[in-house]
């Protein structure tokens, strides 16, 4: 039996596959919490952008539970955890020349964050 049929291929291209997991896990943070992105430099894959590491932000909302890319990329398990949209002020990221009212929202996993 073929692993990938034309019909399955069509669906994969059109809909993709979700990394969301339907697991009830306690969230480390809630909307409004002040957080600091961990200053980590893993040798493998990570989805935490360099420019937010060590920067302070505010949890805007909780997206739910998702596969953790760092361990999943190493085939070391999905390690599902909460992902939040975290708001960073442009000046926190880019310095005093950035516009005062600009903000950036970045999706970050529990393991990328500490309480600020």
């Amino acid at each position: 039996m073929p692993l990938l049929t034309a019909e399955l291929a069509r669906r994969l291209i059109k809909e993709g596959r979700t990394a969301k997991r339907d697991i009830a896990l306690p969230a480390k943070f809630k909307p409004g919490d002040r957080v600091v992105a961990r200053n980590i430099h893993p040798a493998g894959h990570t989805r935490i952008p360099r420019y937010v590491r060590g920067r302070r932000g505010t949890v805007d909302r909780d997206h739910g539970v998702f596969v953790f890319p760092d361990t999943n990329a190493a085939l070391a398990g999905e390690k599902p955890q909460h992902v939040y949209s975290v708001r960073f002020g442009a000046r926190e990221l880019w310095g005093p020349d950035a516009p005062a009212r600009d903000v950036l929202y970045i999706d970050l996993w529990d393991d990328y964050l500490d309480p600020a």
Binding site: L8, A9, H45, V67, A74
Partner: protein, 97 residues
């Protein structure tokens, strides 16, 4: 790329085709078909592209990166031998069918 600048403006192409060359579609199809074996996942394949030497990463086109990545994943998953592609390329250059 995130946090980097100096790459100049994005060039917009009128009526941009899905693929600029026929081989690009084959690379997409090969990547999907090989991925269906479940030997890797999207995060491992993202890491694959990240491991491309930076001087190549900045120079190569989108699907050239995909092809480089696919060859790497196939070797890592023991689905092909490390020198298998080079050997086949050499054969084809000598006119093998």
């Amino acid at each position: 790329m995130g946090g980097m600048d100096g790459f100049g403006p994005i060039e917009r192409e009128a009526d941009e085709p899905v693929f600029h060359e026929a081989w690009e579609g084959r690379v997409l199809a090969l990547t999907r078909a090989c991925g269906a074996w479940g030997k890797w996942n999207i995060d491992k394949s993202r890491f694959g592209i990240e491991q491309m030497p930076p001087e190549d990463y900045l120079r190569r086109s989108y699907y050239e990166k995909w092809l480089w990545r696919l060859e790497k994943l196939l070797v890592e998953a023991d689905m092909i031998a490390g020198d298998e592609i080079e050997r086949r390329v050499a054969e084809l250059k000598q006119g093998a069918p």
